[in-house]
Symmetry: D3
């Protein structure tokens, strides 16, 4: 250790304002330089613009290859939007709790906004991202998230007893499938986002606060 | 598994609105019933009201015993507010990154608000709570947080090489002490908050968004 | 502890032969009772039968819902079979190394067979399932698997330095995307298989030995 | 990241066949150059050749020192072959489940073959190496492996309640000793094999498939 | 690996006696060069000398800044010496069990001595430092340490069920606060000690043996 | 939480002195009731008495079966006492550092005493049991213990680079074997001791203080 340091604290030099922690998030969407294909999915992007006001960066990140983009969109839409015994809010809660386990910046931001919006309870979004165990939840919600997070943390030890806990909380076989499929999907997406340094649209940060 | 479930998803019964995930946070501050002492620190609480508009729940939680409350306040104020080679924002960034490692609801909410307020960059608060590695930080900030989080995760393996990495980033001995002391303090507070189910004032949630 | 036990070992009663460890794998494919939909994908299943001699159980498991089945098949085929800078064998090696990290019975059996078949080196399949670090691999293969397994184990800590290690091993941006996407996909599939107790077709066990 | 990579996947150059993942396993048995002693144990090696058709590489690895070789062989033979309340198959199942926890290439290959041979159920060998929790086992087998794997993963937390679970599954004190001793032995062997990069005889790979 | 090594063990050169493993512990108290302030707390140090025969190194380490030293001393004295439903020995047992989890050299030495002294049972001090689960403890002591160590290891998962286990062992709300506060305090101190390479007074090593 | 607790701390009832934390260690050596065999090894036990003044409890624990006892003694004596490039003290240091990783009460007590005795530096024994990283060690000692503890913690990731670090610290192939074999042996013994609740002779506690 340096022998010159002492109790007197270093005089702080007037510093220039720090750059934003999210600088470039809307322009340099991933660590990669992968030019988009002429968009067969242009119509889909346009629909996003109309419906959401923007195209989610994950879609732009996939736009270098239409086959990959369509497969992702088809799976995402089925899982998160199609009829299910789980409400859309419940599916988004799983998305955020799993993404919190994996500490995924992109998904926490994008799906945290979704939980805030669907629940009308902004603090619920925060709690899913921080520690779902601290939230005031129904027994059904708690059982669902316990399963999803255990499945994320140690999939090798998920067994019949874990499925039975979901049954006792009122979930049927199809519901358990859906919990597993949503938790599985975000274990995939979290990793693709981390591997590519995918950045969320900055608009998400202030949605539904 | 139930043999009656099938593909047809359960019909969703119109459900009553879910309770807030933070219900009771401003009234039932911990899991305990510890009545406050006649307040020698009343003046301090009054100052809080005047300065912040409210008394942070952690202080109310400690109010059952003046000796404990004063000791906590003295240490907190010295660490977070007294002169230091670390800016107040840097100290709050450590607070949140450590609390994220420990997934502490109280401290993430209260100190996340402080990071947002001090930096004027709301997303910086989010990033400290989600995964500090994903934030666009200066090398100095990154080195500081790497040390603080390693110290939280595996204190037994922090050694000279870790201190040297801080030196290379421009920190002196006294600065390293302060990084360690702030990181240590939140490793304490996080655990007291989790052990007692301490709830943050709900006003924090929307500060400096 | 029982006071009656002693050094004399318990006399072994002539036992009936133990049941197979894989009993029912070809008939009770998951823990769930989810009847298949009238198959729009019947043609696809028929093609499987013709090409592989059987329908992989994962497809039967998904057959309760055509939308889910098609989305899964579209994503799987693109990732594992479409043109890529990664050979099909490399993609299967990632599949097995990730599934080994997650200790997923279904995927280790099904994709272990694929590694054996594509490589003509049965022991390579074993090594991917046991510990890829013990295999004699090219530097390219090793870098690829190190990235995929780190991404599985601690996605929050994958950063630019990890991508640079892949660059140094000769991978381009699109290749890195593909490594991440395959690793991500099996982090999803492993969890769906574990959550549902999905059982592999027993035919895989002896393929390409 | 390289700016030159794009969607077009790299053209695959016709590659020379990859080397075997197990190249040299039968000739360079460890990472070390330790010449064998004039063999007092020659007779034992000869017996191996006659009985098994080959000398297990672990014995060759120990042959640089007769005292070490004899001590290892004496302990191994007592544990795995002497009379016990545990069948030989049960002892081999413990060997493989422990070696799977420790991801030991040598022991997984050699003792995986033993499980296949003794059980006549090749898939049982695979399942012990992949995830014993996914195998269809008797309650006795499951209790035995749960104890052995917990003892491998976190020996500091094995206590009376764990021994009682074995009692309830029908094991006596001497049986529990034997489970612990076999699990302990492979926690030793796994580490010696990993530390020395010990390679299994390639003949094991196809035994009893 | 070197090709020259062989079975013949390296001849041991007569070696000079090894230096003490604790060399400098009484003179170079931390890794830092932080000169003490003219001591307002001189009286306190003098009292230490009179009462203990020495000044604990942790106090000397803090002496570069009186505000920090007083805050530390005030909190320490309240927690460890003030009236509480926990005996002083119980508080020291928590200190050592937590410090064992965090493998903190300073605190294990200093507080191990305290456990030996207060209990008159030197082996109790050893057991707290090695593995509290192996000690013969009362159910009350065991419950207290289980809570303190879980709170150290995974604070995010401490919940109502953990508090209820303490209630069942006879602890009231104020007692649980004190367990949490002592456990929390040593999670702070352990980290400050590790971060600064703080060395315990060598006199502790032989106290109360 | 109980509503009756408050700030006033529970009045401490005059308590009877607590039982020793090591009660029964010299009489109930394990959790098991396994009567000793008529001792072929009586001579060996007698030699222990003469040389050490007592028979180590681990030998009494094994005395229910002479084959197991002899195999254990043969391996132990070869590893810890036979000629080696490692000094006896170095081998005992490995024993304690590994046993600290595994938090094994029996081995920490028995081999901690050996480190104290062989080194004449009682604090060295403590440091090996607490955190070897905090001890003032030679580079050779540090490299040796880093290897042994990594091999204990994550044997699957020990590779050529780890062996090379030992080479650079001056160890030859045979020395590395011995480090691995001693570390492996205590990974076995630690687990047998934990599985059986083996208790060390109380005489060890005060040896060589």
């Amino acid at each position: 250790m340096s022998k010159t340091s002492n109790k007197t604290v270093t005089k702080k030099i007037a510093t220039k304002p720090r750059a934003s922690a999210t600088e470039g998030d809307d322009t340099a969407i991933t660590a990669f330089a992968l030019p988009p294909e002429p968009l067969e999915m242009a119509a889909y992007f346009k629909k996003c613009e109309e419906k959401l006001g923007f195209v989610p960066n994950v879609l732009k990140a996939y736009a270098f290859d239409n086959a990959k983009l369509s497969a992702f969109v088809a799976m995402y839409n089925d899982l998160m939007l199609a009829p299910s015994g789980l409400s859309k809010l419940e599916r988004e809660m799983i998305a955020v709790a799993v993404s919190s386990h994996n500490r995924c910046y992109y998904c926490l931001v994008a799906h945290g906004a979704a939980v805030r919006g669907l629940s009308g309870d902004p603090a619920l979004g925060e709690l899913m991202a921080m520690n779902y165990r601290a939230a005031r939840l129904s027994p059904r919600e708690r059982a669902m998230l316990d399963f999803a997070v255990k499945l994320s943390a140690e999939p090798w030890s998920v067994e019949e007893a874990d499925r039975e806990a979901l049954c006792r909380a009122g979930f049927g076989d199809r519901d358990i499938w859906d919990i597993a499929a949503v938790a599985g999907f975000f274990n995939m997406s979290n990793r693709i986002a981390s591997a590519t340094d995918m950045r969320p649209n900055s608009v998400y940060h202030c949605q539904a606060r």
